[in-house]
């Protein structure tokens, strides 16, 4: 009897009952990184700086976002531009410290700093986790495209 049981793998089959049952059903999990769930509308990913329709940037270096930030992520340098307007020299977002709370976005009086849907930003070099003005404006272009599509 015992020997027979062993020969027919009944215990094993019993143990794999659930496996066998679900093996041929369609999957419910997402196969990351081959598949991705589109983030929700108000998802808070990495930052971007929006641009005006004429291509100039919206940020006027008021420092309010940086002031609001609880973990000292944002820093910027500013100067007087050639046309006498205020100009951003550099804008840095140190993602290593950011907790994605979104307070900076809330603080901005010009709707310049926003958060994209990008959540994949790991890097081999820690320095690359500090975004500069150019990166942020590039992300801004991406964001505005995404925003337009989202609204459609």
């Amino acid at each position: 009897m015992n020997l027979l049981k062993k020969a027919a793998f009944t215990d094993l089959l019993k143990g794999m009952k659930i496996t066998l049952k679900t093996m041929f059903k369609p999957t419910v999990t997402v196969h990351y990184p081959f598949e991705k769930v589109p983030p929700r509308k108000r998802f808070r990913g990495i930052h971007a700086l929006k641009l005006n329709p004429d291509g100039s940037y919206r940020c006027e270096a008021c420092y309010l976002c940086a002031e609001m930030c609880p973990s000292n992520v944002i820093d910027m340098e500013m100067t007087e531009g050639e046309n006498g307007e205020k100009e951003l020299v550099d804008f840095t977002v140190d993602l290593t410290r950011c907790l994605f709370c979104g307070l900076c976005v809330e603080a901005c009086p010009r709707d310049a700093i926003v958060m994209t849907d990008i959540y994949e930003f790991s890097q081999y070099d820690i320095k690359k986790l500090v975004l500069h003005k150019e990166d942020l404006l590039e992300l801004g272009r991406y964001y505005q495209k995404w925003e337009r599509e989202r609204e459609r």
Binding site: C62, L64, E67, M78, T79, E80, G81, K86, P109
Partner: protein, 726 residues
């Protein structure tokens, strides 16, 4: 003084005759919002935000202009007051642009703060916002009239406290705006003291060098001492990430003796730190050229060259006391310094008082009459001139000035004695007798009347401006000290440079011709600027410690970079005792660091003795037909700022020779002759120059001026000259 009681918000407060309700409240920690009131200015009552309720008065009254009276009962926080206050602020805000995010005042703006605390939460105004759109751009100051709240602080500051009357209100009513009288700061006579920018409660008057450069609240604020002249002003240096963004005086908040007043050099000269001419590495001569070497190598060469050799030490006097002590320790106590003329003046004074020292500047505040001797105090030590002016208009002192040239101070002085330069000592001698003997007749009515106003008063004496550079400085020192000594009054000798007093204390100052060493050592100086008329003695080796590529660098064998005043920590021996310097800036090079490696000469310090003579000085200047020349560096030309500061150069004056309008009818090119040296220069008639004198204003000392003055060091004033046709 008699005091009495008034009641503010139920609190019994002590008040003195003449106090305003606002001042009493401030002393007792009761906050009344203000816009147009400023501690340093005459109250004006222009903005009406300080309204308070006074028991018995039918209407609300402005606390800033209301004099406290015995048994007054004042309420600052009733509903009625709050409503009126909010109403005033609402009216101001109606037409105020909403530019806080880009406004440079944001974060330290009084309108922001007061509006937030006392303003209405909502505006009822529905009309279109007024846009004046009048922006006036000067070289260093900008007025953005859309932000102006017409408090008139700037006008009172410029006209009354600074005595310049550059700013005013143009147009009236709704269209009123602030402007220099003809729209141009330089033409309007602006000295760029920056005081108007400092007191403007909003972001209307702006420092252009700071425009859009940073946000006020995020910067590191360091209190330090300006090293650019003997006024020794306390300044606040604002920096972010180790880079200086601006210098502010903070009038009314500043605790230094300058009370926050600055001059163009202190306010805008900070950019010399970032000058392109800044030296970054040590340089060593190899053959015909200078090559960059590292620090260790430089120290090694320096040590080897100095070993057992005597040095010719050239010292500039804005080094800190710590540096000077170390320099003496390493290079010995004999030096040529730009404080030489000042030393002569002090030596003259010391022959009467016995001490090579000056009284504290604040001693003038406990006298009734301040006797000022010297011309161009406002050029050499601008803030001292401002303080003298304020002593009159704020503290009610009487100012009496003796000099040769007219000065801005004369507009507030009780009397001004202008005499030819060669008669200064004689005039002082008349005063020495006349002040104490009412029957004395000098033969000159003006002198007699001055003597009369000095008689029996509590006096103080101030000597400064060009006196340390005058041919007669030592004799003038003796004479004025004799007068002060007889009157039992303090005598303030204003040092021309930030640490002149310490240089005089530590070093044996000598004539350049007395230097016989084998190695030239120049510290922080520039020959033409600090020693006009002096040539570098020939030596085997020349070492220059300098922050900049100065013209002498090409003659040097070893050049070592050092830091500037704003980058130092340490102390100065100044006009108001010890003044301290602090900094958050980092520099790769430091003078003290280099000197540490050099062996000490072990010189023991000894008190300098000056023989007591107790006699007034003797006249040195005798003149026949010659003119007496005074060479005057413009306010900006006095030190490194005019050579290396881009900000200050924008407002530096030009070179011209001013002559009495009777001696010169129209502007023309002339040849100025001193002994056998000549200089071609544009001469301009000027009524303010007395007969027999010539005033050469220069934007900075250059080679040709230096050769004109050859052999005259340290004198710049009272030099005999002739004017020839060019």
């Amino acid at each position: 003084m008699e005091s009495f009681k008034i009641v503010i918000d139920g609190k019994e407060c002590e008040a003195f005759a003449g106090d305003t309700v606002l001042e009493v409240a401030e002393r007792n920690g009761i906050v009344i919002p203000v816009f147009c009131y400023h501690k340093e200015l005459r109250p004006e009552g222009a903005c009406r935000v300080c309204l308070v309720e006074v028991e018995g008065a039918p209407r609300l009254v402005t606390a800033c202009t209301l004099k406290a009276m015995p048994d007054m009962v004042v309420k600052t926080n009733t509903e009625r007051v709050k409503r009126a206050r909010a109403g005033v602020i609402e009216l101001i805000l109606n037409n105020h642009t909403l530019e806080c995010p880009i406004c440079d005042k944001s974060g330290e703006c009084e309108l922001q703060m007061t509006g937030f605390r006392n303003g209405p939460k909502k505006s009822r105004y529905r009309e279109k916002r007024r846009e004046k759109d009048i922006v006036i751009k000067g070289p260093l100051i900008e007025i953005d009239n859309d932000r102006c709240i017409l408090c008139r602080r700037c006008i009172r500051m410029c006209g009354e406290n600074m005595g310049n009357r550059v700013l005013g209100i143009l147009n009236r009513g709704y269209k009123a705006y602030i402007s220099p009288f003809n729209g141009d700061f330089l033409e309007g006579g602006c000295e760029h003291c920056g005081s108007c920018v400092d007191v403007c409660p909003v972001g209307s008057l702006l420092d252009r060098a700071f425009k859009y450069k940073d946000r006020p609240w995020r910067m590191d604020k360091t209190w330090t001492t300006c090293s650019l002249c003997g006024s020794g002003c306390t300044i606040e240096v604002d920096s972010y990430h180790g880079k200086v963004k601006r210098v502010v005086g903070r009038i009314g908040v500043n605790r230094g003796h300058n009370k926050g007043y600055l001059c163009v050099r202190g306010k805008w000269g900070w950019d010399i730190i970032y000058s392109e001419k800044r030296l970054k590495e040590p340089l060593l001569r190899q053959g015909d050229s200078l090559v960059k070497v590292d620090f260790e190598k430089a120290v090694e060469v320096l040590k080897e060259k100095l070993e057992g050799r005597e040095v010719n030490l050239f010292l500039e006097s804005s080094l800190t006391s710590e540096e000077l002590t170390k320099i003496r320790d390493v290079f010995g106590g004999k030096a040529v310094s730009d404080s030489y003329g000042y030393y002569k003046l002090l030596r003259g004074i010391a022959s009467i008082t016995g001490a090579l020292n000056t009284s504290l500047f604040s001693s003038i505040y406990s006298s009734d009459v301040v006797f000022v001797l010297g011309d161009f105090i406002e050029e050499f030590t601008p803030v001292i001139a401002t303080l003298l002016r304020l002593a009159v208009i704020q503290k009610g002192k009487r100012l009496i000035r003796l000099g040769t040239f007219p000065s801005k101070l004369d507009s507030v002085s009780f009397s001004t004695l202008l005499v030819p330069q060669e008669e200064i000592i004689d005039t002082l001698k008349h005063l020495i007798v006349g002040t104490f003997d009412s029957s004395y007749q000098s033969g000159n009515k003006e002198i007699d009347s001055v003597a009369k106003s000095l008689r029996g008063k509590k006096l103080s004496f101030v000597v400064g401006g060009n006196v340390p550079f005058s041919v007669e400085s030592e004799e003038i020192g003796k004479t004025v000290a004799f007068l002060a000594d007889r009157a039992g009054a303090p005598l303030v000798a204003i040092p021309p440079k930030a640490n002149s007093l310490k240089v005089v204390e530590l070093f044996d100052l000598v004539e350049p011709s007395n230097l016989k060493g084998e190695v030239n050592v120049l510290i922080n100086c520039e020959l033409e600027r600090d020693f006009p008329g002096v040539e570098l003695p020939s030596a085997d080796f020349t070492v220059i410690f300098t922050p900049f590529y100065t013209p002498e660098v090409s003659q040097a064998d070893l050049v070592i970079p050092i830091e500037l005043g704003l980058e130092k920590r340490g102390t100065f021996k100044g006009i108001e005792g010890e003044l301290s310097l602090d900094s958050v800036l980092e520099t790769p090079f430091s003078l003290l660091e280099v000197l540490k490696y050099l062996p000490s000469k072990g010189i023991s310090s000894k008190e300098k003795q000056v023989p007591l003579i107790k006699e007034p000085g003797k006249k040195v200047l005798h003149r026949k037909r010659e003119l007496l020349l005074t060479v005057l560096p413009n306010r900006t030309g006095w030190n490194s700022v005019s050579y290396y500061s881009e900000n200050v150069v924008k407002v530096s004056g030009k070179r011209e020779l001013l002559l009495n309008s009777q001696e010169l009818r129209e502007p023309k090119l002339v040849s100025l002759r001193v002994e056998n040296k000549e200089l071609q220069v544009q001469a301009v008639p000027d009524a303010s120059v007395p007969k027999g004198h010539a005033l050469l204003r220069v934007e900075r000392f250059t080679r040709d001026i230096s050769s004109l003055l050859r052999g005259n060091f340290p004198f710049l004033s009272g030099i005999k000259c002739e004017i020839l046709e060019a």
